[in-house]
């Protein structure tokens, strides 16, 4: 399925003009039968991990063998991530739009019999609304999808990312044709400026302004210039860029080609982390197929404009997502950030003017060129236009990928789309922006999700990870987690980051053991400011954010650790004890059997007891107990 060029079913010569591309598209659309039954299986990384490739294989075998009396045989299509990852593997039946969740190989037979042959839904595989308990038939009716606005993701889950013809039929490269056949370089840049698009990688720098400065730098320094995709997504819990690269690689590629056209770049780079093998594979296939059709490489669409790109794999360093570290890495040196007092639009890769944008930013560009900057500026809110993709993870019912217009409140994403915390309790806080961001507490849940409002609340947009926390998450522990992560991932070049993050983490370690004073909190804040002011790159200067926001919003919880020797969330091991409620314990012995330290004793059918001196506080007994008899205090 993944061999290069296998998807070029139609014997196609190089497309030699924009008209030829549009005619090709018309032809492809005319060849599609809108009434053909399609079994669409999600092949995003999440669903694949849950065995969706086996489901696809089962469909292939079964459809061939089944006695389907239809004029057109049902087709099978595999797509990128459809977004509802916690419900995977996902299977959609088109054109009806039936949405089946958690499909296993053994369900395939029934789907074929009930749905493909008899035309009836398989009720038990349909999504059940947790509020009403009713089964929902189609994707569009499920609140998780209904409340989203899919703009960047519009093709993901619809097209086969390994088949350029599928992408072209869905509109890919229409913007490129438009730009090459009638737009000047200036017009392309103006359109992006007009859109108000801001960088989706985290900092939110206006993309149009970046491109405009690059044009000015080129005027001064001449060419060559480079365009670069930052696909080194590494925030814990973030998978927006991976999904876009895997599910619609042509949108990124087309954006990059448009950027190259606007600046007259001949060479581009896609810096993708090596931990994303599927994204790299799909980009490689996309590039090979685009070259075949004359959409990439020499003399694109016979316009005289030549541009090619290559993929550089990141070697597992989070810091290489930082612009200057990314450049040094592409140049073949260790990925250390460079001091950045000249902007990369003036002096970037190989010391040349360079435009570096994030995957999602590039994927927005074709939409802007195709539909116009004004159209894009109409989405979202005035200073944060367009939509933003978030990966919603943590203590939330609907884990997955969510796209909403900028400016919707946090509650809309977490509660309406995400379905809130399992069990119905209010969430405690939402961590946005990953390890560089901060948390938004429940009482600020109506905060609009846009660049400026999140910054005002002490957090940041970041690349779009949203980690939902509930009462069983300890803020000290969360802050420690992010610091440990950054300690490992710091390049180690500058002292505030290399020494400071370790010292901050040590102070939090002490809190988690119940040791500390009010003065330590003040020191932590003061050291945080020193790191923010002193660190060389954005990794270091944003690293204290999780600590500062949690102190700001949950200072009492910090205090409880050292003044009361309590971890209110029941997480910090040195401050909690496990005990068994004798009234609730049935004496089933299952906790005693699971205890790795053999410190639970008791007679069968009699209440059991935990030996607190022996207990290592692993929590296995609490997870094991079916009667909720294990208490943490």
């Amino acid at each position: 399925m993944y061999s290069l060029n296998s998807a070029l079913r139609v014997d196609t010569p190089r497309l030699d003009s924009a008209e030829a591309l549009n005619a090709y598209r018309e032809n492809l659309i005319a060849g599609q039968d809108p009434n053909q039954t399609l079994v669409v299986v999600c092949h995003g990384t999440g669903c694949m991990a849950n065995g969706s490739n086996r489901v696809t294989a089962a469909f292939q075998n079964a459809i061939e063998g089944a006695d389907i009396k239809a004029k057109v045989m049902p087709g099978i299509k595999t797509t990128g991530c459809q977004g509802f990852c916690s419900r995977g593997p996902l299977v959609l039946i088109r054109p009806q739009g039936l949405f089946y969740q958690r499909v296993k190989e053994k369900d395939v037979e029934e789907i074929i019999q009930r749905t493909l042959i008899e035309g009836q839904p398989v009720e038990r595989l349909l999504y059940k609304d947790p509020q009403t308990g009713k089964r929902i038939h189609t994707e569009q009716e499920i609140p998780f999808y209904k409340l989203q606005e899919r703009v960047v993701l519009h093709n993901i889950g619809k097209i086969d990312p390994t088949d350029i013809t599928d992408a072209i039929a869905a509109g890919a490269y229409r913007a490129l044709a438009k730009a090459l056949s009638g737009m000047t370089l200036e017009q392309v840049v103006s359109e992006v400026e007009q859109s108000g698009l801001r960088g989706r990688g985290g900092a939110g720098f206006p993309t149009g302004r970046k491109w405009r400065s690059a044009m000015a730098a080129i005027e001064k320094k001449g060419r060559p210039v480079y365009v670069v995709v930052n696909g080194d997504e590494g925030d814990p819990g973030a998978f927006m860029d991976r999904t876009i690269m895997e599910g619609d690689p042509h949108s990124v590629l087309e954006g990059l080609i448009l950027g190259a056209y606007a600046l007259g770049a001949e060479q581009g780079y896609l810096y993708v982390r090596a931990e994303y093998p599927l994204a790299i594979q799909h980009l490689e296939i996309a590039m090979a197929q685009a070259r075949e059709l004359g959409l990439l490489g020499e003399n694109i669409l016979n316009s005289g404009f030549s541009f090619d790109a290559r993929i550089n794999r990141g070697a597992g360093a989070f810091v290489c997502g930082e612009s200057t570290a990314l450049f040094t890495s592409i140049e073949g040196k260790p990925g250390n950030p460079r001091p950045k007092y000249t902007r990369s639009v003036e002096e970037g890769l190989w010391g040349r003017p360079t435009i570096l944008n994030n995957v999602e930013t590039w994927a927005n560009v074709p939409l802007i060129i195709d539909k116009g900057g004004d159209w894009y500026a109409g989405l979202g809110v005035p200073h944060s236009t367009g939509t933003k993709v978030f990966s919603l993870v943590g203590k939330v019912n609907n884990v997955g990928l969510v796209e909403v217009p900028m400016g919707v409140p946090v509650s809309h994403i977490v509660e309406a789309i995400g379905g809130g915390v399992p069990g119905g309790a209010p969430f405690k806080a939402v961590q946005t922006g990953g390890p560089s961001g901060g948390c938004i507490p429940y009482h600020l849940k109506e905060t609009p999700v846009d660049f400026d409002s999140l910054t005002k609340a002490g957090s940041m947009m970041g690349s779009g990870a949203m980690i939902v926390m509930d009462d069983s998450d300890c803020v000290v522990d969360v802050a420690r987690y992010f610091l440990r992560f950054l300690e490992e991932e710091s390049c180690g070049k500058c002292l505030p980051c290399r020494l400071g993050l370790t010292r901050m983490r040590e102070m939090l370690d002490a809190f988690s053991k119940g040791v500390g004073t009010e003065r330590d909190i003040e020191d932590l804040i003061s050291l945080s400011q020193a790191i923010q002011d002193g660190a060389l790159c954005a990794l270091g200067s944003s690293a204290p954010n999780p600590v500062l926001t949690t102190i700001n919003y949950f200072r009492d919880e910090y205090r409880a650790h050292f003044s009361d020797h309590k971890c209110p969330a029941g997480v910090c091991k040195d401050l909690i004890t496990f005990s068994i409620d004798p009234d609730a314990c049935t004496g089933c012995r299952s906790c005693a059997r699971q205890c790795p330290n053999n410190c639970i004793s008791g007679e069968k059918k009699q209440p059991h007891v935990i030996d607190a001196n022996q207990c290592i506080r692993c929590g296995i007994c609490k997870e094991t107990c079916k009667f909720d008899a294990v208490r943490v205090s």
């Binding site: 001091p339 710091s490 290399r498 020494l499 010292r503 400011q529």
Partner: protein
Amino acid sequence: MIQFTINDQQVEAQHGWTILEAAREHGIDIPTLCYHEAVAPSGACRLCMVELKDGNWSKLVASCIYPVAEGIHVYTETERVHNVRRWIFEMLLATCPASPEISALAERYGVTSTRFSAADPDRTCMVCGLCSRVCEEVVGLSAIATVDRGVYKRVGAPFSRPTDVCVACGCCLSVCPTGAMQSLFDTVRGIPATIMTQLTA
């Protein structure tokens, strides 16, 4: 010539100079550890941070790298600058407790004690990278480099084995601001083959 101010004092500098170079030219003191005239500045130790102010706007920059510009207002002794400096010194005192050079420098800037405990009482190196930069830029050998990353970053030879690329020129010894190279030198260079044969004979 470029005109600007440091601590409200009008100063002049040539185009292409950094703030640090201009300040030292005018006898204004800024502490540094990883800076040396022989090599390009790298901005690693962050002791040379200064504050740029323009009305309500202000930011901290590393003066060893930041190029002078017409009309900027530079301050070397503000509260924010002192905060960064003090914390770096406190952390350095705990990281390199065996380096008299670091203790002396910290004391000059009023930091005589640290709230942090020392992990290794014998340590002197704080991985500023000056030794490896001299070896690369001046000697042209790159016999040593900083290896690994983050908290594990250290100075060493390729693959952490003694290297005969080193010609024992001693440049790294002479630029090392903490005296750490004294003890690192032998591990980098290893025992010369001739002596090794005598020893094993």
